[in-house]
């Protein structure tokens, strides 16, 4: 059976060149980078090289790169690290209603510790208004955290403008760029951010490794205490295979940036076309233009997301949904709700995220398969039957 993976926002396959490098640092240069002997020095060289490659991808200096155990840890480090570091200066944090749970649940936890938080609303496309950020900042605000691009609907936030406002007001700014890296040109200086999170497994690297970019001069209280690793910012023997894998993935993401983005956009647009041709009454969720090139998020009216996902899976197609029935909490996606999308429309939402291996034939197969599935489910839907009567 044909298999089509359209869930690259969840994770990506590891690039063979990345696997090669990781293999080398497990079988050959497997030393502890902190050791002074040759075994240690070889491993240290690998970590340094990876640091330089990640720095090059985002326009940072290598010393500003802190390796973490993934995007979630980078977000936690940025937010909790700032909260503890600046708690004598203020107690107010600003974020948005559509952040990833790695940010939202971290801020909610800090509220339980006595901090105060503002969750900015978004418009119907999922976009934050920089004017809202400006108005929300008070003399006790210590951090603003707004994602660069949304993982569900792909909406790209006006991060540079928000960063400029924060700089003017003297407030630290963090952005979760986990989905944006590799898809948008990310330069920390052009954006003007103080802290930026990224994750390897979204850019054809391994799982469980990420980076927090920390602008020179920005101090954070560490989450982990122990050895003097990562300039005392993150204790623990470096996960060398993961780190060198991320380094290679970052290098490939930089070198292949233009061709990848062009490919994503082309197949994503084709996919949307094929679906619209075949399925009546579908709507796009998110911004029509200001969105990640690989992201398609749509709602099929009068059917439910999980039943579509199960049927797609039976046809070898992998996607995801923001339907209440697919979430552990039985609530629809907080992102779709924050955009004001009605419960029943969120119910029929599907996220399809393309990748380097997605082909034009895949888009035709998915369009036709989804069409058959929706026809069948609609014939079974009391809402559709009431509507067509």
């Amino acid at each position: 059976m044909r298999r089509v993976y359209l869930d690259h926002a969840a994770t990506t396959p590891v690039h063979p060149e990345v696997v090669e490098v990781m293999r080398h640092y497990m079988l050959q240069d497997w030393g502890n980078p902190s050791s002074i002997h040759s075994f240690g020095r070889e491993a240290r060289a690998g970590v340094d090289e990876a640091r330089a490659k990640v720095a090059a991808l985002i326009g940072a200096d290598p010393e500003e790169i802190v390796f973490t155990g993934g995007g979630t840890e980078a977000d936690n480090m940025a937010i909790k690290g700032t909260a503890w570091e600046l708690r004598n200066k203020g107690d107010h944090i600003i974020t948005s209603a559509v952040e990833h749970h790695a940010v939202l649940h971290t801020v909610e936890w800090l509220e339980k510790q006595g901090f105060r938080a503002t969750y900015l609303p978004v418009d119907e496309y999922g976009m934050v208004d920089p004017g809202d950020v400006e108005r929300a900042i008070t003399s006790s605000t210590i951090l603003v955290s707004i994602m660069a691009a949304n993982n569900e609907v792909g909406t790209v936030q006006p991060v540079a403008e928000i960063a400029r406002i924060c700089r003017e007001k003297g407030v630290r700014f963090h952005t979760d760029a986990v989905q944006a890296v590799g898809q948008l040109p990310i330069d920390v200086h052009a954006l003007g951010v103080d802290l930026l999170s990224l994750s390897a497994h979204k850019i054809y690297g391994p799982k469980g490794v990420g980076v927090l970019y920390v602008r020179r001069g920005v101090r954070l209280t560490p989450l982990l205490h122990g050895g003097a690793h990562e300039r005392k910012r993150r204790a623990g023997t470096e996960g060398v295979p993961g780190i060198v894998g991320l380094g290679k993935a970052a290098e490939l993401a930089r070198l292949q940036f233009d061709q990848r983005v062009e490919h994503y956009r082309r197949v994503r647009d084709l996919l949307w076309e094929r679906i619209r041709e075949r399925v009546p009454e579908v709507r796009l969720n998110g911004h029509p233009t200001e969105r990640l090139p690989n992201n398609l998020n749509l709602s099929v009216l009068y059917v439910e997301g999980e039943s579509m996902l199960l049927n797609l899976d039976m046809k070898g197609i992998a996607a995801s949904s923001g339907s209440a029935c697919t979430s552990g909490s039985l609530e629809p996606s907080h992102v779709l709700l924050a955009m004001g999308i009605p419960h029943e429309v969120a119910h029929g939402s599907l996220r399809m995220t393309v990748g380097v291996s997605t082909t034009e034939e895949d888009t035709a197969y998915v369009g036709e398969s989804l069409g058959e599935i929706v026809d069948r489910l609609r014939a079974m839907s009391p809402l559709w039957n009431a509507r067509v009567r």
């Binding site: 969840a10 749970h101 009068y302 059917v303 439910e304 999980e306 039943s307 199960l310 039976m314 995801s320 339907s323 209440a324 029935c325 697919t326 979430s327 552990g328 909490s329 039985l330 629809p332 419960h343 029943e344 119910h347 014939a379 079974m380 839907s381 009391p382 809402l383 559709w384 039957n385």
Partner: protein, 148 residues
């Protein structure tokens, strides 16, 4: 996450559709996640001669709808009224804990359809009041799991 039986009913649901001019109609919404189910029945000699369903919901909701129609087709109204949510779930070899609430929908829609039939047939209305299903057998929400 679903049993083979659930997937089998989900893939090939029995008794999909709507009976024209039915003898009883039951429509219920799921307060937990917002799904919807409609069951129509044809009654003859106190038996469910025919039954069809329409469901807007997850895999478990569709499978339980299909199963409940299969369980009660040909049964007397009294027998059908005794079919519980738990019985439907068990007939499907169980449901994941977070999906147990979906089985409420199927049995409730069935019971609503039967009550509708009884209330349309005045003389038997009194009997309807004795058919209260199996009390205290509703599934409570079991929430859990994480986000992706």
């Amino acid at each position: 996450m679903y049993s083979q039986k659930v997937m089998e009913h989900f893939t090939n649901p029995r008794n999909v559709g709507e009976i024209p001019d039915p003898d009883g109609v039951g429509t219920v919404g799921n307060p937990v996640c917002g799904d919807l189910m409609k069951i129509t029945i044809r009654v003859k000699d106190n038996r469910i001669e025919d039954i069809k369903f329409l469901t807007f919901g997850c895999g478990a909701a569709i499978a339980t709808s299909s199963m409940v129609t299969e369980l009660v087709k040909g049964k007397t109204l009294e027998e059908a009224m005794q079919v519980t949510n738990r019985a439907v779930a068990e007939a499907l070899d169980g449901l994941p804990p977070i999906k147990m609430h979906c089985s409420n929908l199927a049995a409730d829609a069935l019971h609503e359809a039967i009550k509708d039939y009884l209330s349309r047939n005045d003389g038997r209305k009194a009997a309807g009041e004795t058919y209260e299903g199996a009390p205290g057998d509703r599934e409570v929400d079991e929430r859990g799991g994480g986000s992706r």
